[in-house]
């Protein structure tokens, strides 16, 4: 059998179309004005395997405010830092509904807002990096600044994905909001 030389350098992709880690493996969905709060916009990134990542949408009012803040996972009724899952079936994970608050963003000026999870599922883990590095939430909201990992059933994952706004629909919705503002 003739031997050919294979090398990692024969696999250089087109660098103009580089995708980030979350863009490679997740599809992004959006909820705007959650609970009728203006620009309380969240983004959920769905993996094909039912895993979802919760983060803030770029249009969230959080990104407009310049003020020191901290992230508190123990502010709601249930302490999210106590979440623990066991085994393949993730037994013991906290049960979530769309209104469940995952954490609170607390500003130095004493104001705060809640971040809801926006979907049904089981809480797998929260991003504890945000406690030490709250700046990640602002700097890398769709990457290292994600808020939580949620697992749901195939049915819920698919239904939620279909129900929420796709990236195009989200951009469209933002545009119509702005134009209605102007009028």
């Amino acid at each position: 059998m003739e031997e050919e030389k294979y090398d990692i350098l024969d696999s250089i992709p087109d660098l103009d179309n580089l995708k980030s880690f979350t863009d490679r493996y997740f599809s992004k969905r959006y909820i705007i004005d959650f609970n009728q709060i203006k620009n309380n916009d969240i983004m959920i990134m769905f993996h094909s395997n039912r895993i979802a990542l919760l983060s803030l949408a770029p249009s969230h009012f959080f990104f407009k405010k310049q003020e020191e803040y901290k992230i508190n996972f123990s502010a709601g009724k249930i302490d999210r830092l106590n979440n623990a899952v066991k085994g393949k079936s993730k037994k013991g994970g906290q049960y979530l509904v769309p209104n469940s608050v995952i954490c609170k963003v607390e500003y130095a000026d004493g104001t705060s807002f809640d971040i809801p999870c926006g979907m049904k599922g089981t809480l797998i883990e929260v991003n504890e990096e945000l406690i030490e590095h709250p700046e990640l939430l602002k700097d890398m909201p769709d990457a290292d600044g994600f808020i939580a990992v949620i697992l749901s059933s195939i049915a819920i994952s698919e239904a939620t994905k279909n129900e929420l706004l796709t990236h195009e629909e989200y951009l469209e919705a933002l545009k119509s909001c702005e134009s209605s503002h102007v009028e």
Partner: protein
């Protein structure tokens, strides 16, 4: 002479010649070569001695029926089976086939000679009687014809009716009473006698050599059923009512009331008296003979060892199904299976069921496996033939023809060798080649400087002298988290070297040697900080991975290469 009385008693009860020899306790296969002659020899003596004493004792044995039975036993006429199940059309036609297909050297004997129920042995229910065999031979031949084994030896096994155990026991108890000095435990088991009697003839017919199941890889199993099994076993219930009551109470544990075990247990302490009280002074004439209902053939599995090189970045190791739909049109497994199945005489469909790929780990769909390749083994269940080394080489060529997967050699391995493979998966290191990109704060590609490369090549988070350069903590990757428990595992990189990529300023290539179980992709992109530290910590800037190859799997395999 005890042998003579045993044979006489057996004959009086209605045993066939073979069973007579069994009750004599003869275990030597040669004793079963001609059971009729053997038994006749004793009976002739018997007749002579009785003729001599005739008149003195005032009774004129031998029983004429007895002699008739022996002669019926001796002839080899094919059976016209009109016995137990007259409405079983399938069996009827099977019988006709038997006559046309099975040549047992009986063409001179007139057909349509019916086996009378009187002729069915009270112990073996006909299983050891030649005239019941053609039907079974035909069934076995049918199976062998379909499967076309090239194997030259054959072993056979019998699944016999449970009532035969009861009947055997009844005869034994009778002999014990009537014949002082008879020992029950000396009985030659039905299955063993059957192997020598039926098996020898079967081997001749199918043109193979009979051997024991421990030696011959090809095993034929004949399943014989007796229509009155259930009814007769009621006697056993009468013998041990408590046992069967407790079994029926635990229905969930014992779904079947009469099993070989439970019947043997119930008969364990049975006495002739208890048998008689249950209505069995002697085993009754069988109402029908036991009949073969199915035959199966199975060749012991064979194992092959080899290594595969995977050259495609769009090829999963096994068919990749999402909600029952396949995501890629082929897989390493399918590419390997088809030529292997053909070499072992299996159709592609059979191959899917009979072949099993056992590998030392797996790579992702988009990861190539280069170098000497990934060690794997194949288990081929029920192979029809065994290819030689030269043929195996041609199999390798066929696997490699499309150049998606390359297998250089395949060789037979043992089951013990598989342990090496499985241990290797958990303990052996792998070397990877990774193509990476340096990213600026904005996420866009950034130029890699000589200092960046030097940083990576000098990086370690362990003390000097530690075998590991980098010790890391990895959470279960998100891509497998849905099916694996969430853990943070400690893993190690043993070697790490970066080099520049010509004409691509933002890229660099890494050679990484990692402990078994390390998720290298996740280390390279950091997976949202779920792996710490990550490549970014060594580089001092954000980084991502563009392509990954397994360069070497550190396991000597196949073992005898």
């Amino acid at each position: 002479m005890i042998e003579r009385s045993i044979i006489r008693l057996c004959k009086d009860l209605g045993c066939c010649d073979a069973c007579c020899v069994r009750y004599l306790g003869l275990k030597n296969p040669s004793s079963y070569e001609n059971v009729h002659q053997f038994v006749q020899k004793y009976l002739d003596k018997d007749t002579n001695s009785q003729s001599q004493t005739l008149g003195n004792e005032g009774h004129a044995d031998p029983d004429p029926n007895l002699l008739k039975e022996t002669s019926a036993d001796r002839d080899n006429s094919p059976v016209d089976i009109n016995t137990a199940q007259p409405n079983n059309g399938a069996s009827e036609s099977q019988t006709i086939d038997t006559k046309t297909e099975v040549d047992v050297g009986t063409s001179s004997i007139p057909p349509a000679k019916r086996m009378k129920m009187d002729d069915v042995c009270v112990t073996c229910l006909g299983i050891l009687q030649e005239k019941t065999w053609p039907e079974a031979f035909a069934m076995v031949q049918d199976v062998l014809e379909k499967k076309r084994y090239e194997c030259e030896t054959i072993a056979c096994a019998l699944s016999s009716p449970i009532a035969a155990i009861l009947r055997e026991r009844a005869v034994s108890l009778h002999l014990e009473q009537a014949c002082p000095g008879y020992e029950q435990k000396s009985l030659m088991p039905l299955k063993e006698a059957w192997k020598w009697l039926f098996g020898r003839k079967l081997a001749d017919i199918v043109g193979k050599r009979l051997d024991s199941g421990a030696v011959a890889p090809l095993l034929v199993t004949l399943n014989v059923e007796y229509p009155d099994d259930g009814q007769e076993l009621e006697v056993v219930r009468a013998l041990a009512p408590a046992l069967f009551e407790s079994r029926s109470k635990q229905r969930r544990r014992f779904s079947v009331e009469f099993t070989r075990r439970s019947v043997e247990q119930a008969l364990g302490g049975a006495t002739a008296g208890a048998m008689a009280a249950a209505g069995w002074r002697a085993p009754p004439r069988p109402a029908a003979r036991a009949r073969p209902v199915s035959a199966a053939a199975w060749h012991a599995p064979l194992l092959l060892g080899g290594r595969y090189v995977k050259l495609s970045r769009a090829l999963p190791q096994t068919p990749w199904l999402v909600a029952g739909r396949r995501m890629m049109h082929s897989s390493v497994q399918e590419i390997i299976f088809e030529p292997v199945a053909a070499a072992y005489g299996l159709s592609p469909e059979e191959g899917e069921q009979r072949l099993k790929l056992i590998s030392a780990g797996r790579e992702d769909v988009d990861v190539r496996c280069l170098g000497t390749g990934r060690p794997f083994a194949l288990e081929i269940a029920d192979p029809r033939r065994t290819p030689d080394a030269e043929e195996l080489q041609r199999v390798c060529e066929r696997i490699s023809a499309e150049r998606k997967v390359i297998v250089r050699t395949l060789m037979p391995i043992t089951r013990e060798d598989l342990t090496l493979l499985k241990q290797g998966e958990q303990t052996k290191c792998k070397t990877y080649e990774a193509l990476c990109v340096k990213l600026g704060a904005d996420g866009a590609p950034a130029t890699v400087t000589p200092l960046d490369l030097a940083n990576i090549n000098a990086y370690r988070n362990t003390p000097e002298g530690d075998a590991a350069r980098v010790r890391l903590l990895q959470r279960t990757p998100l891509r497998v988290l849905h099916r694996r428990p969430l853990h943070a595992r400690r893993r190690a990189l043993l070697a790490l070297h970066a080099r520049a990529v010509p004409r691509r300023p933002a890229l660099f290539a890494l050679r990484v040697r990692a402990e078994a179980g390390t998720y290298v992709k996740e280390w390279a992109h950091g997976e949202l900080r779920r792996t710490r530290p990550a490549l970014a910590d060594a580089l001092g800037a954000r980084a991502d991975i563009l392509a990954l190859d397994v360069a070497d799997v550190d396991l000597p395999w196949p073992p005898n290469q």
